[in-house]
């Protein structure tokens, strides 16, 4: 696969004059759209619930970054393993976890994926291949390498996919993991969602290179890949190629997806550090706007599109109701599962 660098203007032009190649197919496109819409709607509901104090603590929303999650979510197979950060709601939903499991965990209720034991930053659903969400920046990159090593050692053909933000590229574990994966040629895909901000600071102010992930790939003998992370089709194709490469024994890939988050770093952040006009510019490149247009170009009728949207809204309502009706986890869970025997005992 050739490396491609997409600037905003180029992307718009390319889409407008692109031939109607249908390597992806309508079924898959509808799936990509459905996932993005459901992720958007669920995250918006999370936002509202936080304002109503039904979600406590903190929450890191992916509004605006749905295309990366959806593109990889559809490209990954059932046995593939994904690892993401505390901004992981989208990636968890994209692998098929139920909305009430996700919202329930944010609301710290018994119906949550982990019954409220982990919270928003640690969403896990092993059944769907979501092998944890990690709150210590960079920690999960070596962990993903370990999962990939296991696949390589046992001759299993699943791929481990690791999602992280631009800020992660400056922490030690990033560099250790990339080198490790490259040297051992592990079946792991590293996906950097560059949303231009490391927490409250523009990434450019704290990084020695322009593209924090892609411009470091060469240090690890890897291909330089930067893509438009707001176009689900481009993400999907890139994902497919990287997954196939890994599955075939071709080793790791590092993919930088350019995107933007609509809200602050976390709910506590009103994001006043953004220059005026920046948000509005990126809103024009809202992934869901792009994809609605894409579906039109491939002759998907409005009825089908709106049915997906309506179904998503209904799902969110049903999930919210289920969560509100769910009790908090029983008190016994406080001391459960510290150790494999289910208990907490450190003495006899």
């Amino acid at each position: 696969m050739e490396s491609c660098e997409m600037a905003t203007e180029q992307s718009a032009a390319a889409t407008a004059s692109a031939p109607r190649n249908d390597d992806i197919g309508v079924e898959t496109r509808l799936e990509l759209f459905r996932l993005q819409v459901e992720i958007r709607d669920c995250e918006k509901r999370a936002y509202d619930l936080f304002l109503q104090n039904m979600i406590k603590g903190t929450s890191h929303l992916s509004l605006g970054q749905e295309a990366v999650a959806a593109g990889f979510g559809v490209a990954m197979r059932k046995g593939d393993k994904s690892f993401c950060t505390y901004r992981g709601h989208a990636h968890t939903l994209a692998r098929g976890a139920a909305m009430e499991g996700v919202l329930g965990e944010l609301m710290l209720r018994d119906v949550g994926l982990m019954r409220g034991k982990g919270g928003s930053m640690h969403l896990t659903s092993v059944e769907h291949g979501v092998m944890g969400s990690y709150a210590i920046v960079g920690a999960h990159l070596p962990i993903a390498c370990g999962s990939a090593w296991r696949a390589q050692y046992l001759g299993q053909n699943d791929v481990s996919v690791c999602f992280f933000g631009d800020g992660t590229t400056n922490i030690g574990a990033f560099h250790e993991a990339l080198n490790f994966a490259a040297v051992w040629k592990l079946p792991v895909v590293f996906v950097c969602e560059n949303n231009l901000y490391m927490e409250y600071t523009p990434i450019g102010e704290v990084t020695a290179v322009k593209h924090p992930a892609a411009d470091r790939a060469a240090s690890y003998g890897l291909e330089r890949i930067v893509i438009d992370g707001n176009d689900a089709d481009i993400v999907y194709r890139t994902a497919q190629a990287a997954l196939a490469k890994a599955r075939d024994g071709g080793g790791p890939s590092l993919i930088e997806c350019m995107t933007y988050r609509h809200s602050g770093h976390s709910r506590a952040d009103p994001a006043k550090y953004r220059p005026p006009g920046e948000l509005e510019e990126w809103m024009k490149r809202d992934p869901i706007l792009i994809y609605r247009q894409r579906l039109k170009e491939f002759d998907v009728d409005d009825k089908t599109v709106e049915a997906i949207v309506a179904h998503s809204r209904a799902k969110v309502e049903a999930a919210t109701a289920a969560c509100k009706a769910s009790p908090a986890a029983p008190v016994e869970l406080l001391t459960a599962d510290v150790y494999a025997d289910g208990g907490w005992a450190w003495r006899n």
Binding site: L334, T335, D341, G343, W344, A345, W346, R347, N348
Partner: protein
Amino acid sequence: MVDAMSNAVIMPQLGETVAEGKILNWFKSVGDEIKEGDNLFEVETDKVTLEVQAIVAGRLDEIRVGVGVVAKVGEVVAVVGAGAAETPKSARPAMQTLVRSAFEEVATPLGRFGAAKAPNGVRATPLARRLIAQNGLDIAGLAAEVRRQGGERIDEKVVRAALAAPAPPAPTAEGEVVMLNAVRLRTGERLAENWRTIPHVFQAIEIDFTILDRVRRQRREAFRQAQGFSLTYLPFVARAACLAIEAFPLINARLADKSLVLSREIHLGIAVDLAHNGLVVPVVRNVGDLTLVGLAKAMNRQIGRARAAKLTPDDLSGGTYSISNNGAFGTAFTAPIVNAPQVAVLSTDAIRLKPAVVSTSQGDFIAPRMLGMVGQSFDHRAFDGAYSAAFLSRLKQILEQHDWGEDLGQAS
């Protein structure tokens, strides 16, 4: 996990009215191979202690209820697997944990033993304090001895030495006669004086000893084996009196010229009949600091010394309250004479099976119960009948409702 290949070991039915049992001991560890009929664990109910055997063979895979924990009848206490199968010999888990709460990860012992410092300032180690309380020793005496020998504290060595001192000779059927006449003469004068000067009032209350008696009988043999003398009702009554006095301090006072001097400590006089040849009232000191077993030992020791005529003037003075025990002859109640300058004396008489009315939710029934009268003679100058009655009521409550089994569990 109990699956098709494993067997659940449950808390068996141990008696018609028994709902639960406490595991005292596991004879096997997780990982052990069990044969049918092997002793698996020891369980205690409020009626009985017994061993439970395995009814299936296999490998003890899991212990769910640990030592010291209560489980309901029918509850799964362990799991025995089908036996060492193809799985490799896995590391035997060592954690047969006591199922404690995560907020009580360390089991702080509740309750306390006696003072950390003797009246003369000499300190006792925690172990020494426990041994003093459990063996009915007197910290003041030990502290004086330590001072005399130039030591710094009362430790285990000091206490063990005191315990190793030769035991008083067993009471003989007949005592020395010569002293006794003097005793009778001396006490007679005092008794007359007390009767003349103290306005006596006597009150009695009927106590249901049924539950206490059950406990006493259960533990009787083990107590005799361990201590070398019989566990009678008297230590229970004495202990209950100490507990009751905590709420009624005027009982444990001395009448001075125009005042009532409350005593911080309880020094208990025990009326000992010298084989119908006189009465002495040796004192057991600091009984408030003693456990039930310690009190029983101390009382037994003093009674033994009294009967062997080994009492010293120190033994006969300093009492703050007294007990007169008359139960041996089956009397209903006795009104003893107050032992000035004390202001009250407790009397116990026969405790026997009698018909009593027992009220249940199904109605009132007649049932045989162990009943006995406990009375108190008191000096009406010190307090009134209502106060004494309230004390007796509290005493009754303690004798009937206190967890005596637990007190006997604290044997040294």
